[in-house]
Subunit: 319 residues, 2 copies
């Protein structure tokens, strides 16, 4: 296995000075509604408003001074861009973020706020990748991918590490799956912590995914990674394609991919906003949507759900 | 003084088994924006989604078994109704809640959910009071007022008690003022804890109030309680009239009433939703609005702000 539990524990020690150990929330009313014990890990309260900051900090602080001197670069239209910009500022090196020209203004302002340089390009993957190559060639910056990277996977796994340490006797974990960094890291934690010990109670790990962006579901079912797909979900954080490294881990260690509809995402998001009083993105709400849709798996169980982020436009809500 | 610090400490012991000790949140970005240290007491995460549950539980559990046997009654179009319904259920006695016929459906469902009886009436104060008299005469229930009541004031004061115990060296507290239960209780805590001890650092207490519902501001300035006013604020929790007992305490122990505009409430609410990722009512946002509007009072200070509630209709937001 490319990434081990020991790597994730090391990542946690490395990033702890720079991140929040986020709280876990519960709601009696939601427990009654779902018929299970739900423990929500609040990564929307993480620095930069998303778990992505864990992987970005781990990747940048894993580099030697020499390696990182010319800075770091990535392409991102999501939370990875601002996470990397903040992590680079902490390390004291430049960050170059390639963004589509139509990216939201608030996102650009956040990245500028951390002192990073934004390079705009066309809104296609090909344009982003070729612009990134240009930037790396010009600046000597190190490319830090958003998810298909061992250091990123190890960093994202630290959220699950905190959750299983903070909440005893979990039966299952549900995390959103997009590129698969979080699901891969979470699976390594869950299987690693319950395999070699006297603890015989395995924790099952499920990825929750929108029906409208079901590449992980199809990849998991067929055993072959689906490389091209056309996502059309409101959960924009999950419209990325499952990474190669991520799929290799998920195929081995995850217990399933659970699909949810767009309506189920909206309903779950409404419950999280009104019951937990937490502002989360649609991408985060897929976890509760899955817990509600699959009672045959979850009824009566103790379930950890990772609320992955809370960055969204309040003037464009689905309610 | 009708209510003392000792009463509030006793209330806290009485209600602790039935309420959440709510967390305190901070945001680096908000601190930078305001130029002060802000500590948000999260009463929107309280049982029933509002601090009102503290006063309701204290009032009901202060009654003897004989007194409470026939149940409790109130009129409310706000958070006091569901708080009283829940507290009565905990005590195992009936609750009768008089509501205007046009009250929101979700509010009625919450009250029904706690097993209380709803009695509908016209949407005027006169109609509500006469219906309440009828209910009390018919059932023998004890009337529990929403704020003009010593047990309610003592109960609401427990939120500030937790806050000043959890956060060291606060310079000031800002709380919303409607009927004045929370502001009165908070003022007693702040002055009581800093008067008779060696601690010479007084905590100043300010009420934050919408310009469009400024009866507390005018009462405080003139020294005479303004009994009739016509509120027109989106902060519906603050459109009540300052109570007599409440004003007597506030006049003596509070340091001022700070007005904020409707636009300032929306802007502060937007900041709390996007920076803290917390779903709070407009009534709760007046606290941050005041901290932003009055830098001459707050710059460089350590400020506790009570986020009083998070119950609102997501399909009717001001953004």
């Amino acid at each position: 296995m490319s990434v081990t539990l020991a790597d994730i524990e090391a990542a946690h020690r490395r990033i702890s000075p720079y991140i929040h150990h986020t709280p876990v929330m519960e709601s009696e009313r939601l427990n009654e509604l779902v018929g299970a014990w739900l423990f929500f890990k609040c990564e929307h309260l993480q620095k930069t408003g998303a778990f992505k900051t864990r992987g970005a900090v781990n990747a940048i602080f894993s580099l030697s001074d020499d390696e990182v001197r010319q800075g770091v670069a990535t392409h991102s239209s999501g939370n990875h861009g601002s996470a990397l910009a903040r992590a680079a500022k902490l390390r004291g090196v430049p960050a170059y973020i390639v963004l589509p020209g139509n990216a939201r203004r608030v996102k650009k302002e956040t990245i500028y706020g951390y002192g990073a340089e934004i390079i705009e390009c066309e809104a296609t993957l090909a344009a982003r990748e070729s612009m990134l190559d240009e930037v790396v060639a010009r600046t000597g910056a190190v490319f830090i991918p958003p998810y298909d990277d061992d250091r990123i996977i190890a960093g994202q796994g630290t959220a699950a590490l905190e959750l299983v340490n903070d909440v005893s006797a979990l039966d299952a974990l549900i995390v959103p799956v997009g590129g698969g960094g979080l699901l891969a890291g979470t699976s390594i934690v869950a299987k690693g912590m319950t395999s070699d010990t006297e603890n015989s109670c395995a924790i099952n790990v499920y990825g929750a995914e929108p029906e409208m962006a079901d590449d992980a579901f199809r990849s998991f079912r067929s055993g072959e990674r689906v490389g091209n797909h056309v996502p059309a979900t409101m959960a924009d954080g999950l419209s990325t394609t499952l990474g190669e490294r991520n799929f290799a881990i998920i195929k081995d260690l995850s217990d399933g991919i659970l699909l949810v509809s767009e309506d189920e995402i909206v309903a779950a998001m409404h419950l999280i906003w009104t019951r937990l009083k937490q502002v989360v993105e649609p991408s985060a709400a897929v976890t509760l949507a899955a817990a509600i849709r699959y009672p045959q798996i979850f009824t009566g169980k103790r379930i950890g759900l990772i609320l992955t982020g809370g960055n969204l436009d309040l003037s464009d809500l689905p309610f």
